[in-house]
């Protein structure tokens, strides 16, 4: 009954989406305010029904209703409640439900918070949002219905894939989807602007908070996924240039570019047409990401052909939305007025540089991800494009970007003073050179480029600090006055500094962990020692441990410092899940400052020995700490929103004019 209710609610949501997608448009054409104002309440109602459908599915999972095929295939009554809940989106159908839930949630947010939007813009944007929603409702109902029943309900479910039975599943997909889908708002507003044929700086002011929010979620979503992969997969890698990862990186790169070009548009009225294009491209890349992950095209072109319905459907969505949006762009963009002149050396110029490099980096990830598929489909030739390709193309594009990054915020709008900015960055450059020299001196046979990378990272970090120091005049004014200035600084300035600093921190972590980490692979018997960096790890023995729905074989290892001080115990395990007859590796991590010791177990051997992989990952936590700082920067900037949106509001202005009493 509950499943049927959910199914029905989803169908009603589709109906509402169709109304929301057509009526307001008719309203804008006939200039009918009533029809236009239909958009907001239908958006709310649509969200309510999708939420109802999602809740229905959630209830099926919580009560373990195995007569629902989706629940039967992905859940098990033995699983802890948290995994029964997260397994809702641990599968194709359920994750699409999450996708549309978030999509309609954003639509509802626009409906609620869009009161001071121009009526026509709001009507158009919500209508476009509804088209996207309708397409995905239809996709779920026709090809991926999670509410399908099994005629004879099985007694027990088939368990969630053990790899997914991890707290990471609770955060990673929802955050990633909040990011992906959040960009749909920018897309809808871009299409709305094109439909209307009018765009101004206020547009950017409207869209920027949404882009910022989506970008923040995507940043921590990607970082969280990277940390999840790092501790789950058992060899301590944090980024693999896997197509599925690239699918999330591409919208992030384009979204970052969009964030910056929207600043130019908001502050200076320039780059309007480019910003619109970026808004379209960013969401298009999110759609492509969904397609890549959901259609099975990645596994091979052939699995795609074996079960073509879903793939073809998403492909059709892609073609219609991306093709349609770009066609509309080609037709209407020339009508939009460009504005805002600036010299090449200026804040705008720096942001254009940022956009050029970010979009090129995005394009190289795009071509690297899709080229093998295209080549195989067109010529049948099979090639592989993996990490070495991306390191060779992405790295050289990102390093100049990072070098220029500290200059941007120090330059004035319209016409900047490059020499002045360089002088102010002198201290940062000296620090960077010092870091580079220190890295060279301390390095024992690491890659030649690593000290350079560390230097760039320090430059970016010191550059962000310089920016704040220059704005608060902390070195020139007495501390109290500087403090006052710091408090008075716009939050967005703090946001920029935090986010840029965070990127530097992440780069430092990546460089240190990849270039200066060490690895030991060995077979150990009880009592054996293994030395790594300045630690000694002693194997103390194996023992068994029973979990709720798994059994662990745990290895016990004692960690000492080289001088004999006891530090602690690491207990990596091999976890077997009887339901699926699968075994996973649970690595043990020991955090030392921001560095980590990482230990994972191999299959126990007949003679009672174990194979172990032991890593020392210096500064590895900086990678994710940097992402957290970027998120904080975004949040700071977002909290500045009141100030930016605080332009005179019509309602208040009218109230003020009314005679008092």
């Amino acid at each position: 009954m509950i499943a049927e209710l959910g199914h029905y609610a989803l169908m009603l949501a589709l109906g509402l989406a169709l109304i929301q997608g057509t009526m307001p448009i008719v309203g804008t054409r006939t200039n009918d305010p009533v029809l236009m104002s239909i958009a907001a309440p239908t958006a709310l109602a649509q969200f309510a029904f999708v939420a109802m459908a999602f809740t229905a599915l959630a209830i099926c999972y919580v009560i373990s209703d195995f007569s629902v095929e989706n629940v039967y295939q992905n859940s098990n009554s033995q699983m802890p409640l948290i995994y029964r809940l997260t397994s809702i989106w641990g599968n194709h159908e359920g994750s699409m439900m999450l996708w549309v839930s978030i999509l309609t949630f954003f639509g509802a947010l626009v409906a609620v918070f869009g009161n001071n939007l121009p009526v026509v813009l709001k009507a158009h944007a919500l209508a476009v949002q509804a088209w996207i929603a309708a397409a995905f409702h239809l996709f779920i109902l026709m090809t991926s219905n999670p509410f399908v029943r099994i005629p004879q309900a099985p007694f027990e479910g088939q368990d969630l894939n053990p790899i997914l039975q991890d707290p990471g599943l609770a955060f990673h997909p929802p955050l990633l989807y909040l990011g992906y889908v959040g960009f749909s708002i920018a897309f809808s507003f871009a299409i709305a602007a094109l439909l209307e044929g009018r765009i101004d700086a206020a547009w950017a002011r409207w869209v920027r908070p949404w882009v910022l929010g989506a970008w923040m979620c995507l940043t921590v979503g990607i970082a969280g996924g990277s940390y999840w992969a790092y501790y789950t997969l058992g060899w301590g890698g944090f980024w693999f240039w896997d197509p599925v990862e690239n699918a999330s990186l591409m919208p992030w790169l384009a979204g970052t570019a969009l964030l910056h070009s929207a600043v130019v548009m908001e502050k200076r009225g320039a780059l309007k047409i480019w910003t619109i294009l970026l808004a379209i491209l960013t969401f298009s890349l999110s759609l492509i990401g969904t397609f890549l992950v959901r259609s099975g095209v990645l596994t091979s072109v052939h699995t795609f052909a074996n079960d073509p319905m879903r793939g073809v459907f998403i492909l059709a969505i892609l073609v219609v939305f991306i093709g349609g949006a770009l066609a509309l762009y080609g037709w209407r963009a020339p009508l939009l007025k460009q504005g805002g002149l600036f010299a090449p050396i200026s804040r705008e110029g720096a942001l254009v540089f940022n956009n050029l490099f970010l979009t090129t980096a995005c394009a190289s990830v795009f071509i690297g991800t899709l080229y093998p598929l295209a080549l195989e489909a067109l010529t049948g030739a099979k090639i592989s494009v993996g990490a070495p390709f991306f390191n060779a193309t992405f790295g050289p594009l990102f390093i100049p970007l990072m070098v220029v990054m500290p200059f941007g915020p120090l330059m004035g709008w319209k016409r900047g003073d490059l020499l002045g900015a360089a002088q102010r960055l002198l201290v940062a450059a000296i620090l960077a050179a010092f870091a580079m020299a220190a890295a060279f001196a301390l390095e024992q046979g690491g890659p030649v480029l690593a000290p350079f990378g560390a230097g760039v990272a320090v430059f970016v970090m010191a550059g962000a600090v310089t920016d704040i120091a220059e704005r608060t005049l902390v070195l020139r004014l007495p501390f109290r006055a500087a403090w006052q200035r710091a408090i008075g600084l716009p939050r967005s300035a703090w946001g920029t500094a935090f986010a840029h600093f965070g990127l530097g921190v992440t780069l430092l972590g990546i460089v240190a962990a990849t270039a200066w980490g060490s690895e030991r692979i060995a077979e150990m018997k009880v009592g054996d020692n293994l030395d790594i960096a300045h630690y000694r790890v002693t194997f103390a023995g194996l023992f068994g441990r029973q979990g709720p729905n798994y059994h662990d074989v745990v290895g016990r290892f004692i960690v000492h410092r080289m001088n004999g001080d006891l530090i602690g115990v690491m207990e990596p395990s091999r976890r077997s899940f009887p339901t699926r007859n699968m075994t996973t590796t649970e690595a043990a991590l020991m955090t030392r400052g921001v560095s980590q010791l990482y230990l994972s177990l191999g299959d126990p051997m007949q003679n009672g020995n174990v194979a172990v992989r032991l890593y020392f990952k210096p500064q590895v936590l900086l990678i994710w700490l940097g992402a957290a700082l970027m998120f904080a920067g975004g949040a700071l900037s977002l909290s500045d929103r009141r100030l930016r949106v605080g332009a005179p509001q019509p309602a208040k202005a009218k109230a003020a004019l009314r005679p008092a009493g």
């Binding site: 894939n161 999840w228 992969a229 599925v244 596994t299 071509i367 080229y371």
Partner: protein, 159 residues
């Protein structure tokens, strides 16, 4: 990452045992210099039955065979390039994670620098054109516009 999903997918389709990654202690060479070269090479070679994994990361039996093969070639005195050539001759270009530059991969390798240079060129041209436009003296108002301006100024009630 979402790679985990993918892995899950692959696992669902194939092997029931998800076990420990990659290089086993008994595969490793005694000579540390050769072993280091073997590791570097392994990272550039694809495990052909896996989802975009290098043989250094993969625990598939094929990856094991390839790792052993790479080490055998190195012990036999091959240079890095010879090992790669040997594997390409045997398994085709598919085995290389970084495809070689050829007419087939021209677009792949050409796009990133091409796009960057093209974008730069566009910006330079745009800036030059804009500068040209700014230098152009603004044309004077036509007599009709002058008249209209006067009228507007005369009509306005003043501050």
């Amino acid at each position: 990452m979402k790679r985990v999903f993918l892995l899950a997918l692959v696992l669902l389709l194939s092997a029931p045992a998800f076990s420990w990654a990659a290089v086993q202690p008994n595969e490793m060479l005694q000579n540390p210099a050769l072993e280091a070269r073997a590791r570097t090479l392994s990272q550039q070679l694809r495990c052909m039955v896996c989802q975009n994994e290098s043989i250094d990361d993969s625990d598939a039996p094929l990856a094991h065979d390839l790792r052993v093969l790479v080490r055998e070639r190195l012990e036999a005195g091959d240079s890095d390039a010879q090992v790669l050539d040997f594997l390409v001759a045997r398994y085709g270009e598919f085995v290389l994670l970084k495809p070689r530059l050829s007419w087939r991969t021209a677009i792949l390798w050409g796009l990133p620098p091409g796009l960057l240079l093209g974008g730069l060129a566009l910006l330079v041209i745009g800036a030059a054109r804009r500068r040209g436009r700014v230098r152009e003296p603004t044309p004077d108002l036509t007599p009709a516009e002058q008249a209209r301006l006067k009228k507007i100024l005369a009509d306005s009630p003043g501050p």
